[in-house]
Symmetry: C2
Subunit: 340 residues, 2 copies
DNA sequence: CACCCGGCCGGAAACGGTTCCACATTCCCT
DNA sequence: AGGGAATGTGGAACCGTTTCCGGCCGGGTG
């Protein structure tokens, strides 16, 4: 394979000049630069990123750790991150942190600790203290998107406010008995996404003077089948039912809709449903939801990372640091006034 | 940061020996090895993959190019690949090849051509001739999972057989007017996934002596909203309707189910629906489907790649090369005998 | 006893770039 | 006119590994 020395020889300059010409750092006469470039093109020269990062210490590569790729929110975030990174000339190394077992430790101690990534974006993962300290001992910038634990840069929506907003929407419609399909762990870990959305729900209910019965808050995996099962449990018994459900995510809400259909409960006449996410399918299901914009969030995270890495002010402006990412209530046919 | 020289000094050996001790290549006395290892642990030494791959020419990193991450099949494949790769100590660099424009060229010419990946797995992408030749000019093994164009190693299900199988299932149930919700491009590109499934459908119909009317084969984006819209178009008019639909993917089938519900068409009494994929949600929707196993496919692809890279025979046995990956018809409540 | 071979180790040469430093011009300013 | 700054270039050091080669030792073999 052609190395920079070959290019230099062909162009009649030194390696140093060739390097400067190709990388654009330092002074080099316009005419020389052209000569070097055409020499490089002629022999099909491509730089070795390994050699370059060996000496510069920067790899132009960022690690992304993410617990799922096949949940809508995460997939969307990942796509946003990927696109931005690629645009900035960075590679993206993916770590799918599913379990919390030894694989997880391996990712942090073996893969991320190595010098192959310049920075890490953690999306929706709850970092342990030693995990984040392992990272900044290596002086690797860390940006968190959702999740908990990082003292580092953090981007997030206001999940408590989201829960509150969705619930208030139902309250305004006159519902009084509102159930909540919460993400699993919502009551145990109050500062996670699930916990905060649940808290928002409780706050809104409380402010309206309602105290939901414990049976009306059920926790479930945040997937469509999870929501389906939880809704069957919540609604599938004789006797009075809640007239509205606030689902912790759109996928859970879809499952609830399917369960209602299965149980012969008419939506929205007998049951209003609202979710959160702004899922691609929400419109098709006529689902009222609090939208968020994961692709945008991913892009913002990349913006922060690049800033932290000292890449110039070329990118989009930073979101006001500390300010939550935007969300918006979108009302569709799945929610309506409470039946009398 | 600690380099291997520091480890060597601390252990009282040369860099060469330290390297051998840590990498496990070449002769080194057991006792020395232990001394080196504890020295390394003491100062928290970690190798620089950049330096290592600079000299060995191998990066322990494979590139994955994939058109979507947020479609079930692709997400599942990606997860399978990731898990396997991680297990083998490899990194995974993700290239989300969405458009076919300049971004795509950039990925192939700039990112993949560089020496940062040892091999490439292309899932569900139709490679152009110059794209694959660019890769093997660099002597980078290429494994294709679905998609077309690679002369290289290829893993795939038999999509034509899948279409045929699904259609035959409906024929056996007595249906005669069967519609097909095909993936877009099915008729234009006969050797793509969509094209082959459509061909299998046509073959089965033909063998049964039926000639589907052109209006009963409609093409759509392979997503749930796509299936929804296409099914509305297919079923949402007065007059006689097909009694069964073969959807090119489960997500399309879900959309069709939703459309049927919207139109007041009872499934399966008035309309049978079958899909293909074995989507996570299929059971919840009671969908009859031809299952495939994308996670498994991803793992197999990694197996092939590792073999190609000369990693020992430690991994799972190769699937019989050339043999299609397994599929299985799973009958659920969405398909039943044709109404009389 | 001479020889060879296998285990074990160190010195030094790569690998392919970037960057520091020194040096030579040219240019501008006082 | 003189001096310093800006521009352009080359030599050489350096980044952190792996690996080739050669030397040393001990033991089995002819």
């Amino acid at each position: 394979m052609a190395a920079i020395g070959d290019v230099a020889r062909l162009a009649g300059v030194s390696k140093a000049t060739a390097s400067r010409a190709l990388s654009g750092n330092g002074y080099v006469a316009e005419e020389t630069r052209r000569r070097v470039e055409s020499a490089a093109a002629e022999i099909g020269y491509i730089v070795s990123p390994d050699a370059a990062s060996l000496v510069t210490g920067r790899t132009k590569n960022v690690g992304v750790v993410i617990p799922f790729v096949n949940r809508w929110f995460f997939g969307e975030v990942l796509e946003g991150i990927e696109r931005s990174l690629l645009g900035a000339g960075y590679d993206l190394t993916l770590y799918n942190l599913s379990g919390s077992g030894r694989d997880r430790a391996r990712v942090f101690e073996f893969f991320l600790a190595r010098k192959r990534v310049d920075a890490v974006i953690a999306v929706g993962v709850d970092l342990a203290g030693h995990e984040v300290s392992a990272l900044d001992r290596r002086e690797k910038p860390l940006v968190c998107l959702g999740g908990t634990g990082g003292t580092a840069a953090r981007l997030s929506i206001d999940d408590r406010a989201v829960g509150q907003l969705a619930t208030e929407h139902l309250l305004h419609l006159g519902h009084t008995r509102i159930a909540h399909l919460a993400g699993s762990g919502a009551s145990g870990q109050p500062d996670t996404v699930q916990g905060l959305r649940r808290q928002g729900f409780l706050d809104a209910m409380d402010a309206a003077g309602h105290a939901p019965s414990p049976a009306d808050v059920v926790e479930t995996e945040m997937t469509m089948p999870g929501g389906y099962r939880a809704a069957l449990q919540l609604l599938g018994h004789p006797g009075p039912r809640p007239t509205a459900v606030f689902a912790a995510s759109d996928e859970v809400a879809f499952g609830a809709l399917r369960a209602a259909e299965r149980l012969g409960i008419a939506v929205p006449r007998e049951l209003s449903v609202v979710g959160v996410d702004g899922h691609e399918y929400a419109e098709m299901f006529d689902l009222t939801t609090v939208e968020q914009y994961p692709g945008e969030q991913g892009r913002s995270a990349v913006g922060v990372v690049l800033r932290l890495l000292g890449e110039g002010a070329d990118a989009d402006p930073l979101p006001d640091s500390g300010a939550p990412m935007p969300t918006r209530l979108v009302v569709r046919a799945s929610s309506t006034a409470a039946p009398r």
